[in-house]
Symmetry: C2
Subunit: 399 residues, 2 copies
Amino acid sequence: MDRLACYDCGETYAFGDAVRCRCGEPLWFEPDTASFDWSDASGTTGGDATLGRDTLWRYDSVLPAAAPTGFAAAAGGTPLFRAPSIEPTDGPRIHLKVEGVNPTGSFKDRGTAVGVCRADGPIGTVSHGNMALSVAAHAAAADREAVILVAEDTPDSRLAMIAQHDPHLFRVRGDYGRLYRDTVDGDLGAAFLNSDAPLRVAGQKTVAYEICEAFAPDAPDAIVLPVSSGGQASGVWKALRELDAAGLLPSVPRIYLAQAARCDPIARAYRRGRSRVEPVEGEPTAAVSINNADPPSGNRALAAVAETDGGVVSVAEEAMIDETDRLAADAGVSVEPSCAVATAAVRELATAGEFDAADDVAVILTGSGYKYGPSDPDTASVREVDRTDVPAAVRDAVS
Amino acid sequence: MDRLACYDCGETYAFGDAVRCRCGEPLWFEPDTASFDWSDASGTTGGDATLGRDTLWRYDSVLPAAAPTGFAAAAGGTPLFRAPSIEPTDGPRIHLKVEGVNPTGSFKDRGTAVGVCRADGPIGTVSHGNMALSVAAHAAAADREAVILVAEDTPDSRLAMIAQHDPHLFRVRGDYGRLYRDTVDGDLGAAFLNSDAPLRVAGQKTVAYEICEAFAPDAPDAIVLPVSSGGQASGVWKALRELDAAGLLPSVPRIYLAQAARCDPIARAYRRGRSRVEPVEGEPTAAVSINNADPPSGNRALAAVAETDGGVVSVAEEAMIDETDRLAADAGVSVEPSCAVATAAVRELATAGEFDAADDVAVILTGSGYKYGPSDPDTASVREVDRTDVPAAVRDAVS
């Protein structure tokens, strides 16, 4: 369980001996899953079997950490349901995996939970969003120190949300991309659970285990998700490789990644048929959580797409905003624009003939839209009325 | 399953024939649970068994609605874990039931899910907070019209959050308490899923089913929760009555309710040994979600406490704020002050000798603190640092 491997050159390392491969690419844990079966999923929550429900620890036999008790035991186990109301005409069946229903409101809790259970000492991360909040909260719950490094322009409202969990919180002046590499390369006295840390990727893969188990013995035709650093895409691909090795997939789902057109380095490399991602000069976008111009696991994300015969989609800003509104108004699910980009991509892929009505597509909605509020607050639909006029106004509205 | 009963005078009605009892008290569904056993809990999610995890529909045999597919199938099934870090010295074991991990971030989704699956036509509610958001989202997901009536002073940020789900949204000038009664008494062309609507209370009771099943064949010594209208307290009491009738409780957990001292009509009646709640002139409090000066199910909440030998606690404003901070910083759980009032009450009850170290206390944390952000945003702990100084600053912080 403690073997790390490079997806690209195949080099292996013992956990703790390396953070990235000598070839430059990120590593991941390489458990032997050839004999894994769904019956190995334990059906209990962590080590606290009397007090909980199924969570990601259902898959502890393929994870590099033992099932915990407490807050970390609560990560994962999110709902998955079909949403016919947002399916395009003649398009695929869309199944929403709602990751906002995690303890800190995003998919990041999966990797953090596994990380905090395995890493010793203080834990840290470079993030100003979902990952920062997740690491700060899990550290607080585990009575561990947390080091959170945020960019200079992080708004105070986000800082306050992170600060409530009482981490060591630093607002850092300077190049954010280099700051990321500093924490990977240097010894800062804390275990940095960054987007492509092997412990995090091991936790993130469980979302695909959950999706595939829900469809077993069948499998979805495709899994669609937003991509930023490439860490979550790596996790999904890792899960599919492991489940394929175990003989549990009748066919391997195609992985499709979605980016905002204003900052789409992985999509650009895909369109050009490249296997290496080049940094871009991104523009500001409402998809703040995936606004990553130099993704550290970008090459691995490209490989996930290539190996599964999937694709990468650039979504225009307006289509992404429209899709955010559609998910809330028609599917009841409030998400960040950074998530809506994934169902918007399904719409484009259906139009392009990549999906048809017989396809089952699972879409990972990575985070809750309630946490930061609507990106475009709109109260124009609110009607003002006197109490005595309510009955007539309501009857008129619903008639 | 369709019999409604009054807890107080015993009168019964068929569902649809009455909203409240002739005696003035609220009604609830009265299923026959004498032969219910935990093995009747189905272990599947709703009618969509291949696509999901355990949720409240595990208990569909005691609910007035059939298990659905889609968004409504995702309500409930929230984590429950022990939080030693916030337990008072020599006090009880505290088990947190984290209801913020529901599709719209609060416990209200339980009642809404059951309501939307059973009520025909448009659905509505009188609320400016968690219930409004929940009803709006579930209606959107089910392709149903929603009517949301909010008070005149509801801030635009909350309205925008509700408005994204595209309900008929009315900001109403006039007496909010009378508005509530208008929707109960009148025919407005929508099924109002207010706090004490029998369908809502049936859904809300499932949180206590989950808590008790987690402890089975034992039971917690007490269940502690915030109280506002008294609807959730009614639901918890109903569940305990049903499980007791089924012979599944070795002893009935005591129900303790917590209010903010600035608006505590139920606590006042309790202190005076009354069985009827009188309206109060409340003061503004940070516990906005439970700031209810004239609770429609207040008498039933008092009865729940009296019948289970529990109590009602008034919590001072400062203790409640401190407890909100403690839950985030020491337990990793961000909640509204309206939730923290419940663990603050545990602290006071332990000091008063009402609990001891041998007791298991389950605390219902009703909603996520991320939704509205920290009530007292504080970024004083943030340190500014240049990138090149990060290694030294981090090593210094964690040493």
